[in-house]
């Protein structure tokens, strides 16, 4: 019994460098050898709602895709952007890229260039990238009232009047759906408050895990139709899109997030184990101190 107690005390007072190494390995090994850990991905009802909402859009519909994330949150949000684009392109839906964050420009450029060629989509006809304007919620309000006053040209400097797919687009009411890829402020909440709720345009979101509790009240009220919550949400959406693409007999590369779920799962288990060991050690030490 004493030996077990000693082991727990040692486990409860590990040096932080050892913890870092264990956490590092728990992430690294599943990333390098994903075939070692095969985990089933179960779509949550919220992810399923997002998928169903997008899936019921018709060919030629217009979707506003807003990029509100940067390099720090790219691993969580970018796989969602890729999966959403695949889904929209497969259904021949027109995509309009906007960015509320300066970094969003780069994220949108990368996402469009990663997917568009595979689906043979033409810039200006099937998708357009309008880019970033400073102002946060004021930009959203501007998009809600008149896009051209804010965006005279697209990201490449081409006048909106010269872009074929911008012909009939004046403000947010010309879109059939809005999807916000959000990592913070300004983001999904502001889209609800300043554009989608007042103008009654359906909105869905994909956000980081830490934002989920902030966004969920809007999801519960149906002001946001479903939510892709962090990397698990991205993996769930990828699995739904892959199944849909298979149905449509479209082949493609598998998504990134699904491959990362093993790493995240193992890392979470390791952290939980650390918490448990830390508490057992805490109780044993406290008992000893009281006796001593």
């Amino acid at each position: 019994m004493e030996t077990i107690k000693k082991i727990f005390i040692v486990l409860g007072s590990l040096d932080r460098r050892i913890i870092f190494i264990i956490v590092g390995l728990s992430v690294l090994i599943p990333l390098l050898k994903p075939e070692w850990v095969d985990l089933p991905i179960r779509p949550t009802p919220e992810s399923q709602i997002v998928f169903d909402e997008i899936n019921k859009l018709n060919e030629g519909d217009k979707v506003l895709l807003s990029f509100e994330y940067g390099p720090s949150t790219k691993p969580e949000i970018h796989p969602m952007a890729i999966a959403i684009l695949k889904h929209l392109y497969a259904k021949n839906i027109q995509v309009y890229g906007f960015a509320l964050w300066p970094d969003g420009n780069f994220m949108s450029t990368e996402a469009f260039s990663e997917v568009s060629d595979d689906y043979d989509k033409k810039y200006g006809v099937d998708y357009v990238n309008l880019g970033y304007k400073p102002g946060g919620e004021a930009v959203i309000k501007g998009i809600a009232s008149d896009i051209r006053t804010l965006y005279p040209a697209d990201l490449q400097g081409t006048s909106l009047n010269d872009i074929p797919m911008m012909k009939d687009v004046i403000n947010i009411e010309d879109f059939d759906f809005v999807f916000s890829l959000s990592a913070g402020y300004p983001g999904s909440k502001e889209w609800v408050q300043y554009a989608c709720d007042p103008k009654n345009i359906p909105l869905s979101t994909g956000c980081t895990s830490i934002q989920v509790t902030d966004i969920m009240p809007y999801v519960e009220n149906d002001q946001i139709r479903g939510i892709l919550a962090g990397m698990p949400g991205a993996a769930e959406y990828e699995s739904l899109v892959e199944a849909e693409l298979q149905k449509m007999e479209i082949s493609g590369k598998p998504g990134e997030a699904s491959g990362m779920m093993a790493a995240q799962s193992i890392a979470h288990v390791v952290i939980v184990l650390f918490i448990i060991f830390g508490n057992i050690s805490y109780f044993i030490t406290r008992k000893k101190n009281r006796k001593g």
């Binding site: 009802p45 006053t149 952290i271 830390g278």
Partner: protein
Amino acid sequence: MLLKRQIPLMIVIGVGLLTLFGNFINNEAVRGFVDNDATQWFDIIASFAIFLGALNMLKLQLIKIIKKQKNWQYSILAVAGFAFAIFAGFFYRGANFITIADIQDGQLAIVSGIIAEELNETNPYDIKTKIMGSQDEYEIDKLFMTEGNAKLFMEKLTPFVGVINLKSKPWGAHVQTKGSLFYWMFINMITPLGATMFALLAFFVASASYRAFRIRNFEATLLLVAGIILMLGRVPIGNLIPWWVVSIMLMFGIGAIAAPFIKERKILLGIVSGGIIIFIIFGTLMGWNQTPPALLSIPIIQDWIFAFPAMAGSRALMIGIALGIVATSFRIIIGLDKSVLGG
């Protein structure tokens, strides 16, 4: 004082009232101001704010270096990074590309082959089709960071084409174009650095929760139990945790919550271990190995925590914040709160 306090205050009050009441007044001019003009003013001011912010950052970092304040060495990196970004954005474009036209008779296959080799394309026929399909001139689908590299490639093509031009993407658009120095900097420097900073959180969270997440009282226990369930329930591994593990966790959780109220430790141990045994026997007899109840599924418990306690807390916070914003905005609009004017 008039210029510093009274006039700015009048502007704040005027614009605040107009924007607030603009939503309730059905007048074209007022609506136009609230929906278009005011938002454009905001955009212009926000653009200046970025400029001011950059200058302020530069000033602070330079003062730190000159006065050799604590950790001034890092400020050199900050200033160097700023200078490099300015250089890549305003002085060095990159993003050079080549256009060709008037390909000499019978040389199309050779030109397609050279281009395909440069682009690492396996099928030169695709390039040939694209060249033949182009109306005036054909833009080779590769961007060169330096003019030198572009010219080296041009030398290979020059003997076979009538017109060959070296061009660059326009200023401004170059920032978002692959092959520009700015784009290279963003993708190869800012992106990995940003991702690294965020990824480090995993290590700190692990270390901090290991040291600080202790069952000290009832509230801490609730937080810990909810935290563990959320951590496991949000990831696919949560689906694989069998019902009996969840029931053991549940009994430990009940034990931890009851611990402060039961002085005799042996009784507590008896309740927890007895509960676990009863739970497992009951579950086995009820056939939970085949069809476990929803109550003992980690993802379902996690969904419930999100849908009820977390949602209630989140809504309470939101309502509190909204009321605070209303009160603060009202104080600013009627001129009671002058903190927005600075000083």
